[in-house]
Symmetry: C2
Subunit: 344 residues, 2 copies
Amino acid sequence: MSQRVTIREVAEQAEVSVGSVSRALNNYPHVSEALRSRVMEAAYELGYQPAFLADGLRRGQTKSIGFLVGTIANPVISTIFEAASEALAAKGYSITLVSSRNQADLDVASLRLLASRQVSGLIVSSAAESPEPSRRLLQELGIPTVMLDREGAAGAGLYSVQSDHGSSLREAVAHLAANGHRDIAFIGGPDDFFPTQQRYCAYAEALRARGLPLRREHARFASFTETDALAEALLLLRGEPRPSALIVAGNIILIGALMALQELGMVVGRDIALIACDDIHLTQLYRPPITAIRRDLDLLGVTAARLLLQGIENAEAPTEPVIKLPTSLVIRDSTRFVQRPEAV
Amino acid sequence: MSQRVTIREVAEQAEVSVGSVSRALNNYPHVSEALRSRVMEAAYELGYQPAFLADGLRRGQTKSIGFLVGTIANPVISTIFEAASEALAAKGYSITLVSSRNQADLDVASLRLLASRQVSGLIVSSAAESPEPSRRLLQELGIPTVMLDREGAAGAGLYSVQSDHGSSLREAVAHLAANGHRDIAFIGGPDDFFPTQQRYCAYAEALRARGLPLRREHARFASFTETDALAEALLLLRGEPRPSALIVAGNIILIGALMALQELGMVVGRDIALIACDDIHLTQLYRPPITAIRRDLDLLGVTAARLLLQGIENAEAPTEPVIKLPTSLVIRDSTRFVQRPEAV
DNA sequence: ACTGTGTCGGAAATCGTTTTCTGCTTTCGA
DNA sequence: TCGAAAGCAGAAAACGATTTCCGACACAGT
């Protein structure tokens, strides 16, 4: 069994006092260069690693932050995680990641678990369909928290980084309309999911602004599973009238929609125009390549990390509680063909 | 500021001693039902959460395990993580995830970080190209560790879960050969990466067994970036003679290869047969769907978790230090066409 | 020679829990 | 009625660090 080497042994080895070792290792003033180097050498020789638990207990702080996700097996979320992780690691923080597997009830339990681990900050991107209990819990926990793509922060220590889904979605509708499409359908995530709401509202507004029909059966909402997205897409595409263009909100939905199109023998870019939200590998490699709404996921992650660190270290200095990041429309072959008006 | 409620306050509230509270909360014997319920109630009323740090310090154990990856933005790894995470969470463990961003030097530093956090176990899937320093460090750390898809465990407390890449790869070569392909190329990850080695050896052996040519310039190795995979694929496909079939080892390589094919105007399933390792969404949705070697990622994650828990809780009881899981070949349209022999 | 300032040792308190110890009372069964 | 065992209190040690307090010493400048 590898015995843990304590600060006392380092002090012995370096022939100095325990307090001096602590001061030397923590870059405190009033410590000579000679002593510092002697301590460093002894610590290195013994392979000393300060005990995280004792340190944290004394300082009342863990230097670790909790990351709550609906699932990490989602390229968008994992990319954001990577970026945030790098920024946080640079400041000496480590991340404990917990997945609620897209179950709202697990959501609250996960938050409690993280709180009991005494994380010094929280990044939340859970897929909770009704985020209210979580928000209340967050409030009473009093841990600095950054929400990813969720409704604006209400209380103190609650920040939010979100993407401006609306503007690019309006742009997407404009692009389709310019190519002659009048029947533009929409499939989103759960209808109480914040990004879905943002996207749907922009979609509906853009249609109305152009006098295009907003059919109830052409705007559908699926859960976070591919099979459900597939089912909704099939219902949509089998109905009458069949839309000539489709906007899918999210990469899971995209997969379901593509499966549906495949099943119906429809060819993207010929039988139907397709626009996806979130520019993943699939959209670029699909034949034909799929028009997509892109956002800078690295920037999103880094921004979340920066905001959280502000909230933790500056105690109560919320420069800006909610930050909105831009999105852009990348046009590819799935929407380049022009729809001919059949009957006017 | 939310004051932390300590065990002492709970004892006061319940009018019992501190020791009794501790015993009651930890389900110890020799504690009456009446006392237990009184303690429970007091703890609930006060919203008592045991301080993780103090608890861990005393017990010398954190109930948290470290997960080291090259990057979590890889669908294969994130899927494994999800499965392992669920299994570990069920046993009360939480995971701190650290990404080494595919940099071998960061690898060792990350391991040290995790060790200083006093994790009680480790799951390692780093992409270190030369795993030796890591292995040595792991050995001296003495923390129970499960390696994912890495060379067999050497020492005590070092376990390994791997996939049987070889058998399906031989099957893949057989499938291609049966369809008349004689010039079968291969692109893998780094040549000192364990799964790549396994795959390449099986590939070379299968070619030899059939008397098929093993051309040096038709077996290439790329780093873990898509751009590098793209470059290697371009070199491969522009050379003479051009292979009639291609096996790509890994999902990053697949993306690079598809980009190359797209750039050269080659159509999968017509100009070239394609087999991918790892069955991701892209392989199923691509037109035509791509033949792939599939493995049960959930099983892999759960097995890793189970093995690790054994190593942690049973102290020194390695039922089986290395477990090999099966793979299978899923045949799709990318390899269904039959190659006509041009010249015999 | 006096005084300040910087450097360090030694001891002790502290963080919040678990765990052990002694000692007391109650209960139960034969 | 006696003895064993269970149930609990109260105190204290331990985990491994940080932090404070106080005293000692060296060395500089006046």
